[in-house]
């Protein structure tokens, strides 16, 4: 049920019911009061007649065979006076014997020729006075009173209902507009919803929605960019492979062998890019890497150096914290360090040496510093280093290695930073969480 229908039904029904009950109460009170008042009037007129008759001389009705007094009739009202002997002394209507014949004292209803009368019989000093009131006269009066009282009542009630309908409709109009605006949007549109004319009560809702839309849009832009970059990185070696294979099928001898060798280079590059993409996806995903092996820093540095093969001879290792153990899977720590070393060896100048220093940073972290002796990078390039697919102008590497290191650092609450090294080269600094251990030799 819509909010509007619910409000209209609840308020409308309650209003009608309350006003109806009040009206019924009023009417029943009015009816009782009117009947009581008219009855009192009837009784008082009887008493008044009795008072007048009493003041007549005793013999006024003692003389027998005197014709009964006739009083000019008033519309709707009748009266008859009986002597103590039971004779009719005076009357207003001669043809109403059934109604005006005295019966029990007090009020009663009587009928005569299809007309109902309210009758009051009163006795004083032997005189019996009967007064009667025509009921349809009384009912007419009652109806008139009710009309006067009820019409404003009905008008007020319908006015209230109309105002209620208008109030609810205009009060909910901003919600309706918001609903319309949302319904008419393209399902994939991520532009913020307009907050113009939005009532204060639902403003937080719209703000939250807009915030969500903005974040979804940012995430989508990031994803699209990543997909586009990844496609670019995979298509380029694929192009090389395809072209060289096609050339190989068109030429012969040494030229064909050369083309095949180049195609293989392309395959190797593609495999490397794919592996790094998968690694990045795994690091950023929910997969666990824990293989149960202790992550001793000494082991990590040795494994990373083993991984980079013969170029490891150019790496000078300084271990200032030999017993330290990292609080993260060994496989990832090795991968991160290997990427840093690869990067330093590749970009740190031809055959330039690389220094790897492991040192504790406070009680919780251990920093691995990789310093090369290359030309370094300008500040703009430094900031872009960990971006995915960013690489220096010479187009070496996949552009993912440092992005993977940054992702690993982020996953375990570590930090990756770059700065100009003391010797002019580049210094990469990877700080990772470590387990509590005996204090290291802090330099």
């Amino acid at each position: 049920m819509s909010l509007r229908t619910r409000l209209l039904l609840t308020l409308g029904l309650t209003l009608t019911l309350l006003w109806g009950l009040a009206a019924a109460w009023l009417l029943s009170g009015l009816y009782d009061q009117l009947e009581k008042t008219l009855d009192q009037r009837l009784a008082q007129s009887a008493r008044m007649v009795a008072g007048l008759m009493e003041q007549l001389p005793e013999d006024a009705w003692a003389q027998a065979r005197r014709p009964a007094l006739s009083i000019p009739a008033i519309e709707g009202l009748a009266c008859q006076v009986h002597s103590p002997r039971g004779e009719v002394i005076a009357r207003t209507h001669a043809d109403m014997a059934a109604v005006l014949t005295p019966g029990e004292r007090g009020h009663a209803y009587r009928q005569e020729a299809g007309v109902t009368w309210r009758v009051f019989t009163y006795e004083r000093s032997g005189l019996v006075i009967t007064t009667a009131d025509r009921m349809d006269e009384r009912n007419l009066l009652l109806r008139n009173v009710i009309e006067v009282a009820v019409v404003p009542f009905v008008v007020a009630l319908s006015g209230s209902l109309l105002m209620l309908w208008w109030g609810v409709a205009s009060g909910l109009a901003p919600l309706g507009r918001l609903r319309q605006a949302l319904a008419s949007r393209h399902p994939e549109a991520l532009a913020p919803v307009s907050t113009r004319d939005v009532p204060v009560e639902i403003r937080p809702l719209v703000d939250t929605l807009n915030d969500l839309l903005r974040r979804v849009q940012q995430a989508m832009v990031r994803e699209q960019r990543f997909t586009s970059d990844a496609a670019h990185e995979l298509r380029t070696p694929l192009t090389a492979i395809k072209t060289h294979l096609q050339v190989a099928s068109r030429v012969e001898g040494e030229a064909a062998r050369h083309s095949l060798a180049l195609a293989e280079q392309g395959v190797a590059r593609m495999v490397r890019t794919l592996e790094q993409l998968l690694m990045l996806a795994r690091v950023e995903g929910q997969l666990t890497f824990d293989d149960g092996q202790p992550s001793r820093v000494t082991d990590i540095m040795r494994l990373a150096c083993d991984d980079i093969g013969e170029k490891a001879g150019r790496v000078a290792v300084i271990d200032r914290c030999p017993d330290a153990e990292l609080d993260m899977p060994r496989e990832l720590a090795v991968a991160a360090l290997r990427n840093l070393l690869d990067n330093a060896l590749c970009h740190g100048g031809e055959d330039g040496g690389v220094t790897l220093i492991a040192a504790a940073q406070g009680a919780r972290q251990l920093c691995l510093r990789v310093c090369d002796r290359g030309l370094g990078l300008d500040p703009d390039a430094l900031a872009r280093l960990p971006q995915r697919f960013w690489r220096d102008g010479k187009g070496r590497g996949s552009g993912l290695g440092l992005a993977i290191v940054a992702a690993i650092a982020e996953r375990f609450g570590g930090e990756l930073s770059f700065e100009a090294g003391d010797g002019g080269g580049l210094e990469a600094r990877l700080c990772l969480p470590r387990r509590p251990s005996p204090a290291c030799d802090v330099p």
């Binding site: 380029t236 072209t243 060289h244 068109r250 392309g266 220096d392 187009g395």
Partner: protein, 229 residues
């Protein structure tokens, strides 16, 4: 036909260069915008293949620069990004065609030939000059309906003349078409190829314009073989 290839990835560039070489194109490679600017002034290219992702900027910027300065070489844009916006951007900035990596070598060759043909103002791949016919796709040459066998270099040279039938082509220009910048050419190599063409198609096929270069002969001068004893 000389093609300037602007591509930063050396592996891809080597592949395209070798592939186009098989089809008789002389290819020079520029690996950055800076190199490309220097080379386009130094060599007469019949077409340019332009990669978008260059180390010193977007290839499209280079294209805009060239078009603004009045360069009219047909340009085929290579891109690894297939979003419609990426493709449209190139064409709007003055590219004549585009190919998405990875492409088929045959398609690249066909598109290049079509671009060169169009820029010479021809709609059909067949070039006719009097009794001489050259099919630029099948690379077949016939004279008076009889096939003539030409070497790869001779074919390239003949095509260069047929592409611009009324122009005088300088020796430098012809050497660019044949070898590009990268190959060391012996000083009389061009003369040797011209001599072979005259021998196979008649001495009237190529006229020597003293001091300026060479020009395609008039159609009626064809087939007048030198009577060799």
């Amino acid at each position: 036909m000389h093609v300037l290839l602007v591509e930063d990835d050396t592996l891809v560039a080597a592949g395209i260069r070798a592939g186009l070489g098989v089809h008789g194109f002389a290819v020079d490679v520029a690996t950055s915008m800076r190199e490309a600017r220097a080379m386009i002034d130094g060599v007469a290219s019949d077409a340019v293949i332009l990669d978008r992702g260059l180390p010193d900027g977007d290839g499209i910027a280079l294209l805009t620069e060239w078009r603004d300065s009045g360069r009219e070489e047909p340009v085929l844009v290579l891109t690894a990004r297939d979003a419609v916006a990426d493709r449209v951007a190139g064409l709007q900035e003055g590219a004549d065609d585009y190919l998405i990596k990875p492409f088929d070598l045959d398609e690249l060759v066909a598109r290049l030939q079509a671009l060169i043909r169009r820029s010479a103002g021809r709609a059909r791949p067949m070039i006719e000059h009097g009794a001489l016919r050259l099919d630029t796709v099948t690379r077949e040459v016939t004279l008076n309906g009889r096939p003539v066998s030409l070497s790869r270099r001779e074919l390239v040279l003949l095509e260069a003349f047929l592409q611009s039938p009324r122009s005088i082509l300088s020796s430098e220009r012809l050497k660019d078409s044949l070898y590009g910048l990268s190959e060391e050419v012996e000083s009389n190599a061009l003369n040797v190829h011209i001599h072979h063409l005259r021998r196979k198609l008649g001495s009237g096929i190529i006229e020597t314009v003293r001091g300026l270069g060479y020009r395609l002969g008039r159609p009626d001068a064809l087939g007048a073989r030198k009577t060799t004893p």
